[in-house]
């Protein structure tokens, strides 16, 4: 399905539509602070990873064994529980976020129940009144799995475009 000509094939357009709808709905849940609903989109074997990007000379690996996120269902659940409680001060008042999801590409997964979705993400984050806005730009490589006839997120690898983040923390999901 990565073949550009295959975009016209029967089923590919529908699939592309399903994936973009999934990603748009997911972004809306996060932008609206509906974290519990967001967590419900994950499979229980979810792997959610965001390596630290390191500036390297061409041809040397840009990842060096450290991550910003390396999460499983347990740790994501804890993070969501915290944000859903009354004492996660960093997000109360909450950030105003807007997630722009573009450049969606749908690739074949390892089985019929799974597909791979690549997308670009730009997050605008505004906190309080006069603080300068913060941006996070990234690519996401997702594995979506069809469970009980709905798509779930089974894996997400986030490639962030900054070596030094300019957002005060990752109390937001990408």
């Amino acid at each position: 399905m990565s073949d550009p000509d295959s975009g016209c094939q029967h089923g590919a357009i529908e699939l592309h539509y399903e994936v973009t709808t999934f990603l748009a709905s997911e972004a809306a849940l996060l932008d609206n602070g509906e974290y519990t609903e967001w967590l419900a989109l994950m499979t229980e074997d979810i792997l959610y990873r965001m390596p630290v990007r390191v500036t390297k000379v061409r041809d040397e690996s840009e990842v060096g064994g450290m991550d910003h996120f390396d999460e499983d269902f347990y740790s994501l659940t804890k993070r969501v529980l915290r944000l859903s409680g009354d004492h996660a001060w960093t997000e109360d008042p909450p950030s105003r976020t807007r997630r722009f999801v573009t450049n969606v590409r749908v690739l074949e997964g390892r089985s019929g129940d799974e597909l791979i979705a690549h997308s670009y993400l730009l997050v605008f984050r505004s906190r309080l009144d006069v603080r300068p806005p913060e941006w996070v730009s990234a690519e996401r490589r997702d594995v979506l799995r069809r469970v009980d006839d709905v798509w779930r997120l089974a894996r997400r690898d986030i490639t962030v475009d900054e070596a030094v983040l300019r957002t005060q923390n990752l109390a937001i999901f990408l």
Binding site: K56, F69, W89, A163, Q168, A171
Partner: protein
Amino acid sequence: MDTQQLVDRVRAGKIPAGVYSEASIHELERERLFSRSWQFLAHESEIPNPGDYVMRRILDDSFIVVRDEDREIRVLLNMCRHRGMQVCRAEAGNASHFRCPYHAWTYRNTGQLVGLPFHADAYGGESGFKKSETTLIAPPHVAVTRGMIFASLDPDAPSIDEALGGFGFYLDLYMNHSEDGMEVRGPQRWIIQSNWKIGAENFSGDSYHTPHTHVSVVEIGLFTEPKANRRKEGALYWAGGGGGTTYKLPTDDFDKNMAYIGYPEEMVERIHQRWTPEQKKMVGEAGFMVSASTIFPNLSFVHNWPRVREGAHVVPFISFRLWQPLSATETEVYSWFAVDRNAPQWYKEDSYKAYLMCFGSSGMFEQDDVENWTSITSVSKGLLSSQVELDSTMGMGPDGGTLHEPIGHWPGPGRAFVGYGEYNQRELLQRWAESLDRPRNGDVSGRSGWTSASPASSETGR
């Protein structure tokens, strides 16, 4: 601001809020504090093989920290001797040579200049320009202790061991777990709109914020017990060049306490070989385990032990971070994860997970800390608020002494108190104010403090 007056105010626990945002204060810090203090650059496990390097800064000075072909650790000012271009622009990698992209002057990873295009034609060869005597510049002092590579820009700096003083005792509890030392992952790097001192102070002694700022982390069941009491019963110590906080452990038995915070038996066995009887007494008989701490001025450590899966026992993690000031109101945080190189693989993975959940760019403790510090920095800019004296008098007695007696028979160096108090924050800020009150002899730029490249010879203090 009059610096002598500043020393007096800080000593009295009254901190003019403007010190967290005024550019003139930060200028003094650059000139009189960071020009003199030992600054952490890298851990030796980041550059295990010949040619491995990382690029690090001390404020605006860029350095290459590299292991040369003879396995010596070198710290080289990342600045071509010709026109000042950075000869290395990658954050990490492996290189036998660094070639300036501007005119191709090329340096071996010892710092020695070996390539100079058209040396004969353009300079008249060695008699015109002494290529053989030209190296990248090295900072006046480089030292390695417990695998940690430090540099000082001050030709008159005391040795790293003198600078650490009694804090070395506590540093071992974080960084000396087996004969092969620690290995690190990282750093994570991110920029916060906060003055660098606030984090340094917080880690040095603010056990008082834990029950409130971090209540959410306790509520979600990341720990096996409420943190508040263990925190209040903990000791605050200051020794030599640093100080920190501890948790009170439930027993007076070393092995039981180590197991309680999640160290597996085989690691405890190795630690037995490394720690002195006094260090073991601290954790055993006295029942105090180090948590957060700061080496003056801007290197902090943290040690904590959350659950990394539902219903499981806790697992400890160790992390250290550099509060690198970018300006009076901005700090770049570098945060590393550290673990005993000889720890079992499952432990390394669980401990890493524990770190990521708690500290660093996404850590659930750190998230709430930074929100506080950003707010303090921003508010302190005000015409009125910059003049307000913030209160750091906790634990001071009415007669200028302390409210409580220091702990008697404290097994470690320095002095320690049980309970909440801002002893350490005052200690740290007092050192800071005294540094600002000490003018440098002559102009920084006019000194010939730097030296030619030479290896980090002073392996100290294991």
